[in-house]
Amino acid sequence: MDATVNTKKPHIKYLRRVFVWELPVRIYHWLNALAILVLIVTGLYIGNPLAVQSNREAAETFNMGYMRIIHFIAAYIFFFNFVFRIYWGFVGNKYANWRNFIPTTKKYWKEFMHVIKIDVLMMKDKGHHLEVGHNAVAGFTYFLTFIAFLIQCLTGFGLYSSMGTWWFPKMFGWVQVIFGGDIMMRQIHHWATWFFVLFSVVHVYLVFYHDYVEGRGEISSMGGGWKFIEQEYFDHHQEQKANAAGTDNTDNTQKETTV
């Protein structure tokens, strides 16, 4: 990250291990990713099943039936996993906290603009900005994603309410009233699917991107939970803390540091 060091002999950074993603977050993440991929594939199949030329009797095949069962099982996993994540947003560590997702402070927006400049517009990083957890843009994107989760769960269980026998999906009968019927609900469910497709592609790309340009172990962070942060930032953090002693030093690591 240290762009000012440009000598022949490379400056060796000392990295410190930071525990970012707790185990429940990591389990959530992979369950979620798996469930979503399965839901996208089975969902798009349900929406537009393949043409099968088969001489077998209907009684001997159950293609759509399996796709639907898998879709519904994944849907349940997805839903309860999502509910769990919301809960963890209140009890988990600061990187998991709900404040990472919802812009409530001015600082959040400042960071948001900063990330846009550095990572999207590719401007030079003058401020030496560091965010250990989600960066502001990522956090806000996950917030939008959570809204998409909600839409998908509501329309999904709304559709399911007339098929399921359990009381739980039946609770979603009211969604039908909002959309005036299943036709619109299905369409919205289908449209929203494409948001998930686009999100997944961009998300995975950006995870690799951050890993590549920052070298802090972004990809593996969702495996072991650790990121590796340069010692300079810790020093600087201490310095700033001392300077600002007493003044507004609000919540967390999402600190702007200047080296």
């Binding site: 990250m1 240290d2 762009a3 060091v5 440009n6 002999k9 490379p10 400056h11 060796i12 950074k13 798009l44 929406g47 537009n48 099943p49 393949l50 043409a51 099968v52 088969s54 209907a58 009684a59 001997e60 095949t61 159950f62 293609n63 759509m64 039936g65 796709m67 639907r68 999207v120 590719m122 030079k124 990083d125 559709l159 007339s162 098929m163 009968g173 009211w174 039908q176 009233v177 005036g180 019927g181 299943d182 036709i183 619109m184 609900m185 299905r186 369409q187 289908h190 449209w191 699917t193 494409w194 497709v197 686009l198 592609v201 961009v202 790309y205 991107y209 590549y212 340009v213 070298g215």
Partner: protein
């Protein structure tokens, strides 16, 4: 049909006997209605008892913006007695289509029923009410539909919205809805409306709803959209006899292919059965002879709100709003995916140019460490 029904109405049985039906016919009719309504055997006895002892209900049947297909369906409901009995039994005191009177006499008949049977009559409405331009699009006897509806609704015992027009606006309410066609439940305040959607609804369903009101003296159990649960709680798809083909993944790909001949599921040629709540799969049409899917044509979704705007008839997917008629969600989605991947490729290249220092520093650092390990 007595023109001015007397205050002392005959019972249904009396009326049937007068019409020449035997006791046996009457019992059959009651059993059939009980079965349509999904009642158990004891329920059938209840129906019989009610129709034997209860005075027939006066009915006002209003027609607004509609095509009369609901009336047509009703008078053709399968059992010969349904039309005959219910039409005569439920004295249709005012129905623009079916009554003999017209003009002044007709208006008088309606007024009479409304006064003589205050709080007792059933108000059936066929058609939507246009509210644009102060309602000039549909006026009868100098009054707008809305005025007529409001007057008639005021002292009605129950209100039934026949068909999709009255339940959700149907074709008149399709975009751009020039007359602001409005379904009944949005205009009648403080009174429950039984919605019996369909274009038209199945005749037996209509009869069943009325018999229910007569028998139990209350509204049938409604779902959260306001439709009688007995007929609208299942999707056409759930009672469709082609369902095993759906589950098996065997579909008609075009109407003239081998699969169509084999009677496979019509899902891919636009069948809306999976999102349509109606009783077609069980009751069928025309004396239970057939229903669209049995005749090789997918369900339109005629009983669903907005079915004109919500989908294409012969395709599952509908146009994605704002992208023209050809573009469905998957086409727009694929295009968006293409653009996204393109943008990411550009970003990746830009990263390697603009962040060259950053990345090469990391690389140098890593290589130095590698060396230090030697």
């Amino acid at each position: 049909m007595p023109f001015f029904p007397s205050r002392e109405m005959p019972t249904y049985l009396e009326e049937a006997t007068r019409k020449g039906y035997s006791r046996r016919d009457f019992a059959k009719f009651c059993t059939m209605m009980g079965a349509f309504m999904g009642l158990e055997a004891s329920g059938v006895a209840q129906v019989t008892k009610a129709l034997e002892t209860k005075k027939r209900l006066p009915v006002i049947w209003l027609h607004f913006q509609e095509c009369t297909c609901c009336s047509e369906s009703f008078i053709r409901s399968s059992h010969p007695m349904v039309a005959d009995m219910l039409l005569d039994q439920i004295s249709l005191d005012y129905s623009e289509t079916l009554m003999a009177a017209s003009g002044f006499q007709a208006e008088e008949a309606m007024k009479h029923t409304m006064e003589a049977h205050k709080g007792e009559y059933i108000l059936c409405v066929e058609g939507s009410v246009p509210t644009a331009a102060d309602g000039v699009y549909c006026m009868i006897g100098g009054k707008t539909s809305l005025q007529i509806l409001e007057e008639a609704a005021e002292n009605a015992k129950a209100i039934i919205a026949w068909g999709s027009c009255a339940s959700n606006g149907c074709v008149q309410a399709a975009k751009p809805n020039p007359t602001s066609a409005t379904p009944i439940h949005k205009l009648v305040k403080g009174k429950p409306v039984i919605k019996v959607p369909g274009c038209p609804p199945i005749g037996e369903v209509m009869a069943g709803v009325i018999v229910h009101v007569v028998t139990f003296d209350r509204l049938p159990e409604l779902d959260n959209i306001g439709r009688p649960k007995a007929f609208y709680s299942k999707r056409v798809h759930d009672t469709c006899y082609r369902r095993p083909f759906y589950d098996a993944g065997l579909y008609v790909e075009s109407f003239d292919d081998q699969n169509a001949k084999k009677g496979y599921c019509l899902y891919k040629v636009g069948c809306k059965g999976p999102s349509t709540y109606n009783a077609c799969g069980v009751m069928r049409w025309n004396n239970g002879v057939s229903f669209p899917i049995q005749s090789g044509h997918g369900c339109f979704g005629c009983s669903e709100e907005n079915y004109w705007d919500n989908g294409r008839l012969y395709e599952r997917a509908s146009a994605f709003p704002g992208f023209g008629i050809e573009a469905d969600a998957d086409k727009v989605g694929m295009a968006a995916l293409g653009v996204t991947v393109g943008a990411l490729a550009v970003h990746a290249v830009a990263t390697n140019l603009r962040k060259k220092n950053l990345v090469s520093n990391l690389e140098k650092e890593g290589k130095q460490s590698e060396k230090d390990l030697e």
